[in-house]
């Protein structure tokens, strides 16, 4: 296994995949103001073996060409004891 990770080609492939994935996510946020670029478009990197939920179930600000809403709008929507509406209703509520 050590030889695999010593291989420069392997490293180049992994680095390229990371840059490609991250670049794509950055390009999705290219229309937001520069100071928010990294913040809004960086992937919410997944953790652990749990599969991430569908993207429309978590952050409503990451899609489309229009500027995303303020982050506190989407955070407020997701808390509280009552059951939240369907995600597309949440988007409309913003």
């Amino acid at each position: 296994m050590c030889k695999f990770f010593e291989n420069k080609f392997v490293f180049a492939v992994i680095l390229s995949l990371f840059v490609l994935g991250y670049g794509w996510n950055l390009s999705q946020g290219a229309t937001v103001p520069p100071h928010r670029l990294l913040m809004e478009s960086s992937p919410l990197i997944a953790h652990g073996p749990s599969s991430p939920p569908d993207p429309w179930d978590q952050v409503v600000m990451k899609h489309g060409p229009s500027s995303p809403p303020d982050p506190w709008d989407q955070v407020v929507m997701k808390h509280g004891p009552s059951s939240p509406p369907d995600p597309w209703d949440q988007v409309a509520a913003v």
Binding site: M1, C2, F4, F5, E6, K8, F11, I14, L15, L17, F18, L20, G21, Y22, W24, N25, Q28, L38, M39, E40, S42, P43, L44, I45, A46, H47, G48, P49, S50, S51, P52, P53, D54, P55, W56, D57, Q58, K62, H63, G64, D70, P71, W72, V75, V76, K78, H79, S83, P84, D86, W88
Partner: protein
């Protein structure tokens, strides 16, 4: 498929994490305390998510939302732990250096400064906690990925590399790359709300995570080789 694959990933992940924790407890946790804390955190958050994940992937809408919320709360905890683990790998990579005390101090100061500056930029005294915590942990995540890939590159170029450190940073590098690609696919799924594409993205994320756990387990279950 939409239920079976995520739950299979969850089960395999939890089962793989047990021998990894056991391997760390046999001694490596002393050398890699922050890696150990990250692994424990990863295991516990996965365990906590299991019931709501089951209901979410089963398609029960009311509990599904709670899974999404819980998942991203756990993400905040995990991003802080992974950042600390990566900084400890950077710290470990400075071992062969002659001026390691200075470099180590610089690494720790740099890591604290990076996290602190990002916190200052995003912190808001008023408003919801998530409004500044979320961008802050994203910055930590990006920094973790860059630092980890930097350690891996440094070790490849080093004549006397530590094999354990190489495998730990390489395994984490695969996880970062898989997550970036998987989440890009999830971005692509948003406009059409394509569930198959979203599932593919989430499974790439899960598989890259499982690979990291497996690589770490294989690395830490054997006594550390001397640098070569």
């Amino acid at each position: 498929m939409r239920f079976a694959l995520p739950m299979l990933g969850e089960a395999v992940g939890l089962l793989l994490e047990l021998p990894l924790i056991a391997a760390l407890l046999r001694g490596p946790y002393r050398r890699w305390p922050f890696v150990f804390v990250y692994v424990i955190g990863d295991f516990l958050t996965s365990l906590v998510e299991l019931p709501s994940a089951y209901q979410y992937w089963r398609g029960l809408r009311s509990t599904g939302a709670s899974y999404a919320t819980l998942y991203w709360i756990d993400e905040i905890i995990i991003q802080i732990l992974v950042y600390l683990a990566v900084v400890s790998l950077v710290y470990g990579a400075t071992k062969p250096l002659r001026s390691r005390r200075i470099v180590r101090n610089l690494v720790i100061l740099g890591a604290v400064a990076l996290a602190g500056i990002s916190l200052l930029v995003h912190y808001r005294a008023t408003g919801a906690l998530g409004s500044w915590v979320t961008p802050w942990v994203r910055d930590l995540n990006f920094s973790s990925a860059v630092l980890d890939l930097g350690v891996w590159a440094l070790l490849i170029g080093s004549p006397r590399r530590d094999p354990q450190l190489l495998l730990l940073s390489g395994g984490l590098g695969i996880q970062f790359a898989g997550s970036a690609i998987g989440e890009s696919l999830q971005h692509l799924a948003i406009p059409a709300r394509s569930r198959p594409l979203s599932l593919l993205g989430s499974q790439i994320v899960t598989i890259s995570n499982l690979l990291r756990i497996y690589i770490w387990w294989q690395t830490l279950r054997k006594p550390a080789d001397k640098p070569h």
